[in-house]
Symmetry: C2
Subunit: 196 residues, 2 copies
């Protein structure tokens, strides 16, 4: 009985988190209210507080959940026994797929993290910087072993991440091409652009 209740709470909470991500993406974190969220979830605003402490708590959970996923993937890729270019390709494909498939939470963690409250704000910002440095280090390793053209690795990371966050316009458009075709065109251009 206790176990069933816990699992019900877990899935209820997951629903709330998903709806919150959709709401924050749509209205922006600041403009979104707990009342809006209650309406979308289909419960009384008061009952949301059985599952979460505050609107800011929701933002924390979304941002740190996404951060965990990205950090884990990057660590896995770093330890792969393959070329730098193939590691970078794996990482880019992961980023593209996340933007295509888990758009709302990825979008919110990428654009709305500035509304996190300390100590989470500084912590999250540091994680972002570290992530980009590890990505740049992968590119530098590829330049060093002559797989990749001699370019500024920080600029390369900037190009890759911004190009991928542009998938936002694909979501807003009529999506004339599939997510998979989008991924292939992006990889062709971005990995092709790095390759020596």
């Amino acid at each position: 009985m206790g176990r069933i209740k816990t699992s019900e709470n877990f899935s209820r909470k997951n629903i709330i988190l998903n709806k919150a991500a959709a709401l924050f993406k749509e209205k922006g974190y600041q403009a979104a209210s707990m009342r809006d969220l209650a309406e979308i979830v289909g419960v009384e605003a008061a009952s949301l507080y059985n599952h979460i402490k505050s609107k800011n708590d929701l933002l924390n959970e979304i941002c740190f959940k996404v951060a965990n996923k990205y950090n884990q993937k990057l660590s896995n890729i770093e330890t792969e026994n393959s070329t730098c270019l193939s590691k970078i390709e794996s990482l880019l494909r992961f980023h593209i797929q996340e933007m295509v498939e888990n758009f709302e939470e990825v979008f919110v963690s990428d654009r709305e993290w500035k509304h996190l409250i300390e100590p989470y704000l500084t912590n999250f910002q540091t994680q972002r910087k570290t992530y980009r440095k590890r990505f740049a280090a992968m590119i530098d390793a590829g330049i060093k072993n002559k797989e990749i053209k001699k370019i500024d690795s920080t600029t390369a990371v900037l190009i890759m991440l911004h190009a991928i966050s542009g998938i936002e316009s694909w979501h807003r458009s009529k999506q004339k091409i599939s997510g998979k075709a989008l991924e292939e065109s992006m990889i062709t251009i971005l990995v092709g652009g790095l390759k020596k």
Copy 2:
């Protein structure tokens, strides 16, 4: 005397437009007030109205000024007698240089145009779509004549424009590399990524 006054008005208005672009970029169009602008320009709020009708009028002028510059450049490049790839390279270099050198007005016209009022809103949006289509057509021409890899040209435009709008983070960062070095790395990756 009359002529001097006109040229004084012209330069005063230009100063106001530049300061408005900086203000809209910093605070966002909606949050920025004419009072803020007056303070930055160093005049009474009332005297701004000798030069412009309204806050929205300023946004119009910024957006359409930028649109003119980009449309003109694209038309010039389209008629150049050169390869598709070299036309695309010229266009990308222009975009990068504008983002580096005229960051504030380019940023505002790219992010805040949604606050334009009809008929300007629809007009501006149509111009954006047309511009992207002409850019995509340049890429398609290059695919057809085998200069460029077989990719989805709409995705390629999305990648290029978003990568370049990422120069925003370069402005926010400590700018460890020069605008020129940034341009060269971007061109290496983006043009290199298209090239067959």
